[in-house]
Amino acid sequence: MTPAQVVAELRSGMTVGIGGWGSRRKPMALVRAVAASDLTDLTVVAYGGPDVGLLIAAGKVRRLVTGFVTLDSISLEPQFRIARQTGAIELTELDEGMLHWGLLAAAHRLPFLPMRAGLGSDVMRVNPQLRTVRSPYADGEEFAAVPALPLDVALVHMNRADARGNGQYLGPDPYFDDLFCLAADRAFMSCERIVRTAELVSGGPVQSLLINRSMVAGVVETPNGAHFTSCVPDYDRDEAFQAEYVAASASPQTWQDFHATYLAGDEASYQEAVSKYRAERDAQQGASA
């Protein structure tokens, strides 16, 4: 598939889960395609990073379900901040473990899972829909009843995949990408490189095959497709570019320039613009060295 073909499978108003964590292994090529589409009113569920920021900036997000939005090396996500401070999005703010529990409940087709996280905190205040549940056993303890977070669609990014939908992560952390896929009606997986099935196990241990083909509806090869987030060991976060993204978020004018340079075209033109940016950056560094 192509990113555009994935977008064609989505509808306005859908609940879309996005894998990765913060500014790490985000399916940014797919996110950029969604941002450039006509889709609107999405509910986005994510351990938020610049994926959330880009979708907010493009006006795609009606509601965000998250425990945080961060760029990791830059702690606050600028587009998320603007949207919250101007009231542009609705927010379901959960403890990050509650988000995990909600995805697990959805994957297991349960209506909720009990948990201690949330009790006593203002997560209960700002989410009046949350209920508690009492243990039916002798302990009688009361828990937060974390509701399932079923997704219409999940988007994840892997280091490698085969064409049938078996996906492999080669970095240190799987994050929750398998759960996002299982919590969704349909999941689409982008990857750095599509390889023959036999090549998967020669590239890493069998435990690195996080996604199996029953979990996904489509595979897209998007080289450098997690840029500017990290996708180790293929590449680290592009810190300089991330800083450009933050700087561009400072005003509508600078954002318009950034958008025109990087986001107005398709994925190929984004990657071309990034290559050009890097070449100029390297030349500048060479000149100053």
Partner: protein, 259 residues
């Protein structure tokens, strides 16, 4: 940061590193999760000296223990001893095998912490990180806080959004949760505080060299409990200073966090 009189040549940052390290004393084989430069140096100092069983990550999913050459100056030698992806962090957290030292944009008298947003949650004046793991951490395991700039902006009468849960709120929860909940210390650039006051109110445990009780009270937005005689924070030993300066932080990143 220059040396202060009576600090034995230690800088304020080094005193804070040792005060943070002390937070994990007695924890044994628990995951120490420090947020920030000085807490991270503190946890590593504790692991290298008086609390060798502590587990520490590289900030991502790899558990690192001191390596065979770790005692050599500037070696930074560490060996991978395990794997701790976020899903496992969540399980360790719920199992109580963790002690995190978080930051706080706001902290009240009973230890309610806010890292989510400033102002009305519905439309905040300043959106910050979100609650992150604060709610779950505080009802499951030991939590401490690190505040590099002790001020009335941080130490407030009431926080705008409760992320980490304080003693007054946990008092209304079940017996299990009350047992799991422990806010151990709050380390700041002025001193060390704990929750040993009346009804677990915040109390001044020690002041750093050159700081008076009045200095601390003056920049705290609630009435701070304190014993009649507030001792001085323990100073780093010569060995600890060597470990901090030569092994853990030869580039003195610790000073920038207090600048």
């Amino acid at each position: 940061m220059t040396a202060r009189d009576g600090a034995g040549g230690a800088t304020l940052a080094e005193i804070c590193v040792v005060a943070c390290a002390e937070a994990w004393r007695g924890d044994g084989a628990k995951v120490a999760s420090p947020m920030g430069v000085i807490p991270t140096l503190g946890a590593r100092l504790a692991q290298l000296t008086f609390e060798p069983d502590l587990l520490l990550t590289d900030g991502q999913a790899t558990l690192l223990a001191p390596g065979a050459q770790s005692a050599e100056a500037g070696s930074g030698d560490r060996v991978t001893e395990g794997w701790l992806p976020f899903r496992q962090v969540f399980t360790m957290l719920a199992a109580g095998k963790r002690h995190v030292m978080m930051g706080a944009s706001q902290l009240d008298q009973f230890g309610n912490q806010n890292i989510s947003c400033i102002g009305d949650w519905a439309r905040p004046k300043a959106q910050l990180l979100g609650v992150r793991g604060g709610p779950g951490n505080t009802v499951n395991h030991t939590v401490s806080y690190w505040i590099p700039r002790h001020s009335r902006r941080v130490f407030v009468d009431q926080v705008d959004m409760v992320s980490g849960v304080g003693y007054d709120r946990v008092a209304g929860l079940g017996e299990k949760v009350r047992g799991f909940h422990e806010l151990r210390v709050v380390v700041t650039n002025l001193g060390v505080l704990d929750f040993g006051g009346p009804d677990h109110a915040m109390r001044l445990r020690s002041v750093h060299p050159g700081v008076s009780v009045y200095d601390v009270a003056d920049v705290t937005g609630f009435v701070l409990a304190a014993p009649l005689q507030v001792p001085q924070t323990r100073l780093p030993t010569a060995k600890e200073l060597t470990v901090i300066r030569e092994q853990l932080d030869p580039e003195a990143r610790r000073d920038k966090e207090l600048a």
